[in-house]
């Protein structure tokens, strides 16, 4: 049982839960190209989670497979941040979330390509190509919406404000990440903060917007399995069929 498993589980769960949320856009996007693009990003993130889960199962002493993690785990055992579990908002909300999350993932996976763990290096290397595209995609839309019509500007501004309380959690150095960083497997989330903010700020400026001030509250606890209200409902939907047929193969 290797101590970095808890850290990797946080990364995998972030990707898994955000893939689930993004997949909700399919058939609901503002244009067909966007159904495809968001489906694509969901697929990439799902792929990242699927690359990590079996590896985590092999080092956390449980031998679990990907569906054990995704389909049979209770809410308290999920380690994702609140950002990714929030309900789907409007398209501007999604682009604000995707901008921040993919900027975070670009910094994260860039750093992880220097991990001491070969599997992590492999996952990060593949993911890096993907998340750069995600960041480009989100940037393009944030700029278009911010510098588009009066309505889209207003919506994009509001979306950046709404996402704000969920950002700090991405950069919290919890015990698992401190351990993983000490082992050289992971990186301290706090070390990614400035790079992520710089990336986002450039895009937001180009979008003729500014980053909102710090919010009066912030989310906490996702990495400790303390989730927000939407998480339980997300899991109910995601797991219902698998839970209804114990032991079945699909």
């Amino acid at each position: 049982e290797r101590p970095e498993a808890a850290y990797l589980l946080g990364l995998a769960d972030d990707a898994m839960v955000y893939a689930q949320r993004l997949s909700e856009w399919m058939t609901n996007a503002p244009q067909i190209e966007e159904d495809m693009a968001l489906g694509n990003i969901a697929l990439d993130l799902l792929g990242q989670a699927r690359a990590l889960y079996p590896y985590i199962g092999s080092i956390d002493g449980t031998g679990r497979g990907e569906d054990d993690y995704a389909m049979l785990r209770d809410e308290r055992d999920w380690r994702n941040v609140h950002l990714v579990e929030q309900e789907r908002g409007d398209f501007a909300d999604e682009m604000a979330r995707l901008l921040w999350f993919s900027a975070y993932q670009v910094e994260l996976h860039t750093a992880l390509t220097g991990s001491s763990d070969d599997v992590v290096v492999g996952v990060a290397g593949k993911a890096l190509k993907e998340v750069r595209y995600h960041l480009d995609h989100a940037s393009l839309w944030v700029v278009r919406l911010g510098d588009g019509t009066a309505e889209s500007h207003r919506r994009m501004k509001a979306a950046l404000e709404r996402v704000q309380p969920h950002l700090a959690e991405l950069f919290d150095d919890d015990d698992a990440s401190v351990t993983a960083a000490e082992l050289g497997v992971g990186v301290l989330p706090s070390s990614l903060h400035d790079g992520v903010v710089a990336r986002v700020r450039r895009v937001v400026q180009e979008a003729t917007l500014t980053l909102p001030d710090a919010s009066p509250w912030r989310s906490r606890g996702g990495r400790a399995g303390i989730h927000s209200r939407p998480m339980g409902y997300l899991l109910a939907e995601m797991q219902h069929i698998a839970r209804s047929h114990p032991g079945a193969t699909w």
Partner: protein, 317 residues
Amino acid sequence: EASQGGFDALIAADQRIEPRDAMPEKYRETLIRQIAQHAHSEIIGMQPEGNWITRAPSLRRKAILIAKVQDEAGHGLYLYSAAETLGVDRAELLDRLHDGKQKYSSIFNYPTLTWADCGAIGWLVDGAAIMNQVPLCRCSYGPYARAMIRVCKEESFHQRQGFEILWTLMRGTEAQQAMAQDAADRWWWPALAMFGPPDTGEAAKGGGHTEQSMAWGIKRFANDDLRQKFVDMMVPQADKLGIVLPDPDLRWNEERGHYDFGEIDWDEFWRVLRGDGPCNAERIEHRRSAHEEGAWVREAATAYAAKQASRRQESAA
């Protein structure tokens, strides 16, 4: 008229008509209607399976399903592009879909009630679609024929995936087997109806267009011929799966060298086509509301593009 002569000669020689070629107005209209309906079917067809993306029972199946629904979106895009070569644009075609002025395949007005329906759709619905579409790869209109080649390649992949979903279920728990059988029971008859009304007899009357489309090389086979071909192909596959097709009249006819099968409920077919199917209202409402909710996004993209263009112009000046 020279241009009509050129068109006739190309058709007679089984050559492709291209966008810049002259063509009879009726040919153009027929193609627009057919390609648009086909495109709409891909787009509406995302919904029945899209309904299961968030609930797919394993991550592998979830990934395959997302990719499949994405492919359908892609097919819709190729087909709208093919239609656009005939001088209509996508926005207008979507409006016609949303207003109910253009149709989509009636099969998508049936609900997906269980996970097994994702299997049945792949196996039966995509199976029937391929049967309908393969001949279109040789359609007289070039852009449509080329789009269909791409579409058919992916569809046959989807059909195998559907078969594999059912195969796995039929080798699973009792509940999974029941789920697969139930899905086949519900999708078999609507799949047969996908080939359209019979070419002869009382039920044929609602049909139309067939003869002219045949002459123009847009349609290559009669509905009943394709349906028979489909039944002949599917029965052995059902046997392999261990699924009993829900038709007591289904049996091999040595003399004809084909399977005989029972009568399709054409009253239901027309009822669903007229709008009173289980999901007609829901499908259009879903599409329409996604489209309306996205209007401000599309407007923003247009406004931004215009600003960028004028900025480029200014800096060039």
